[in-house]
């Protein structure tokens, strides 16, 4: 169809005039227009702000879980809740619990798809750098630990297989521990002391991203690993055995504790991502058979990831409902005011009809007014919705992510709301009898 250029110009001209007219009519009642648009403002602003906060929170959670390695299954030794009452251990004054080398060899032998296992033992004691000390944990592990756990070596290097087989007294400090023990000097090349053993610092590694999250996740089953959160020191597992033996003694403010734990932590790496869940199931069966008491805990990052995604879905549904309700309320408010406006301007409608306005013209006029009202509300809402996450990030130090489509979506919904809730008042205005409308006082 070929459109006459004049026709095109004509409709644009009319639209422009209608918009100007709408602005004039809304401007006559500034406060009323502002209050009417308020419902939409808050609806749109809350949609954007909550989306940004939700996206940010789930991004952070997923990032932490991903850093644990989505192909890993992490096993940790924990004190069984009834371990102290178990007669035998109490008599020997040595707590014996946790994962064993036997578990690992069984897992490696029977579970298909297991690539590597990373055993780790832990000693909790004061770590000293001359006069500075901290009660922290020392983890004996294997050279491929950083790679498997997605932790970057920030400075220096991690220990090698040679160092492990030669039981070399070397250590790698976590970032926060390094900062604590060596606030002013360079740690690499220096030595730290635990009890009577000295270790040479060869590297600094990223903090454990899971330390904070696992702490909040399950308070009852606190793992044997780091209560001091991210502060830890890593040494070859063979070195740890040499220096601290099989039974670990702890002296704490006068009391004495001894534990016998073969392995504190084992990371099992599965080769295929879709084999992780079945393999985790198999590992759980093996551990259940080997341990009558639940003296271990199992963390499956992939499972956590899926759960986090499900949580996010639920969050999105709740968010969507809140947004829908607030926009519905806003829309009803607008409709209410527009109906009042139509009644108030009955006479104007009569005049316009007498002067040649068709029903369609009246519909368009009122619809444009409603859409401008909701659209203006939408714009203010978008502005507020973009500002609020910035404020939250600044003051609460939370990550917020504004997806590019969120403001666009929220704004278009506000316009659609205007159209939907404007249709009825507009048609009511147009349906008036001109004679009666002119007589209206």
């Amino acid at each position: 169809m070929i459109r006459h250029p004049l026709l095109h110009e004509f409709s644009l001209f009319r639209l422009k005039r209608s918009v100007l007219l709408g602005i004039k009519s809304l401007w006559m009642h500034k406060l009323r227009s502002l209050l009417t648009a308020m419902g939409i403002v808050f609806g749109v602003c809350s949609v954007i702000a909550m989306l940004a906060i939700g996206e940010g929170a789930s991004y952070e959670a997923q990032q932490q879980i991903k850093e644990l390695g989505s192909q890993n299954v992490i096993l940790r030794s924990v004190k069984a809740t009834d371990a102290t009452t178990a007669g035998e251990q109490e008599r020997s004054l040595i707590l014996e619990y946790g994962l064993t080398y036997r578990d690992i060899s069984q897992i490696q032998a029977t579970v298909p798809g297991v690539l590597v296992t990373i055993p780790a033992r832990e000693v909790k004691d004061f770590i000293w750098n001359e006069s500075r000390s901290i009660d922290s944990s020392t983890l004996g592990t294997v050279p491929w630990f950083p790679e498997m756990r997605n932790r970057a070596v920030l400075r220096g290097r991690f220990f090698t297989e040679v160092e492990m087989s030669s039981r070399a007294p070397v250590c790698v400090l976590s970032q926060s521990l390094a900062r604590h023990l060596f606030p002013l000097s360079e740690p690499i090349g220096d030595t730290v002391r635990i009890q009577s053993s000295y270790f040479r610092v060869i590297g600094v590694i990223q903090d454990d991203p899971a330390a904070a999250s696992s702490e909040t996740e399950d308070k009852n089953r606190r793992s044997a690993a780091t209560p001091g959160a991210a502060m830890e020191m890593l040494i070859p597992i063979s070195t740890l055995e040499d220096h601290f033996g099989e039974v670990l003694f702890k002296y704490r403010s006068g009391s004495f504790e001894a534990e016998k734990v073969e392995l504190h932590e084992v990371t099992v790496r599965i080769d295929e991502p879709d084999q992780v869940m079945p393999a985790a199931q198999a590992i759980r069966h093996i551990l259940e058979r080997n341990h009558k008491k639940v003296d271990y805990e199992m963390i499956v990052p992939l499972d956590l990831l899926r759960r986090a995604e499900r949580t996010k879905q639920i969050f999105n549904i709740v968010l969507g409902s809140i947004a829908a309700i607030s926009l519905l309320v806003g829309g009803i408010g607008i409709m209410n005011i527009m109906l009042a406006t139509v009644t108030e301007r009955t006479r104007e409608i009569g005049i316009r009809r007498a002067l040649g306005a068709k029903k369609k013209d009246i519909v368009v006029q009122f619809l444009i007014e409603t859409v401008m009202l909701s659209g203006a509300g939408g714009l203010i809402g978008v502005a507020l919705g973009l500002a609020i996450p910035l404020v939250i990030t600044h003051f609460a130090e939370m990550v917020t992510i504004i997806e590019f489509w969120a403001p666009a979506l929220a704004f278009s919904i506000s316009v659609v709301t205007g159209v939907l809730f404007g249709i009825y008042p507009a048609f009511r205005a147009a349906g008036m009898n001109p004679v009666e409308a002119l007589r209206h006082e």
């Binding site: 009519s25 006559m28 009809r353 002067l355 040649g356 029903k359 001109p434």
Partner: protein, 238 residues
């Protein structure tokens, strides 16, 4: 009776009746009105209240349609037109002047005058020229951007006249145009009407003021929904 003029009538009513249903009773507001109005006519329609004046105005103004009978406006039978077509006819061929001025409050003088042009799709520039010109002609050239609330009654009615003229209508209908005005301003308005008629415009003044019949060239009296008399003053030609 008037002698039949030679030209075609601008308005012709043939056996027009208008019935209303009020509750259960049928009210006949007009019955059997036959009327011809010619270009250049200057008519006052007089009658006591309840005689069918308002109904007559609504039908002549295409705001309402006859129940029975035909109404030809410029040769077009408007008695059966659709709502949209009726709007079109109003906007193109008729100019309205009301007792209470009926200006749109949120618009300025010029913008009020432009309203009929807007619905006719006249371009912004052209309609602005027409509106400014008309405002000047009715003596409001210095008040183009005033709001109706800032004007006196006489001034508002002059804006309404300018608005009625903006689309160059075939007929101008004035409903008690001076009813709300003092005699001085009312006189000014009537002078404008005289001038418009002298320029060849067809005017129909609906009023209950007997004095009006002295001014207009033709007087139609309504009584009980019928034309009681239709007199043309001596020496006047449509």
């Amino acid at each position: 009776m008037i002698s039949p003029p030679t030209c075609e009538p601008v308005i012709e009513l043939r056996g027009v009746e208008k019935h209303y249903l009020m509750g259960d009773t049928l009210v006949k507001a007009l019955h059997g009105v036959d009327l011809k109005i010619f270009p250049g006519d200057y008519i006052s329609i007089l009658g006591p209240s309840g005689c069918g004046k308002s109904t007559m105005l609504n039908i002549l103004g295409c705001l309402d349609q006859p129940s029975i009978g035909q109404y030809f406006l410029d040769g077009l039978d408007v008695s059966k037109l659709s709502d949209d077509d009726l709007s079109q006819v109003r906007g193109k061929k008729l100019g309205f002047i009301f007792q209470s001025y009926n200006l749109i409050q949120q618009l300025t003088v010029v913008e009020n005058i432009e309203v009929p042009l807007y619905y006719q799709g006249v371009s912004e520039k052209e309609s602005r020229e027409i509106a400014v010109d008309l405002a000047t002609r009715v003596g409001l050239g210095k008040r183009l951007d005033h709001r109706p609330t800032e004007l006196s009654g006489g001034q508002q009615q002059r804006v309404a006249i300018a608005r009625a003229l903006s689309n160059d209508p075939s007929v101008i209908l004035a409903d008690e145009a001076t009813g709300n005005l003092d005699s001085k301003s009312g006189g000014d308005i009537l002078e404008i009407f005289d001038r418009l008629n002298a320029e060849g415009k067809t005017l129909i003044l609906i009023t209950h003021d007997e004095g009006m019949s002295q001014r207009t060239s033709r007087t139609i009296r309504l009584k009980d929904g019928e034309i009681a008399s239709d007199k043309r003053r001596e020496g006047t030609v449509p």
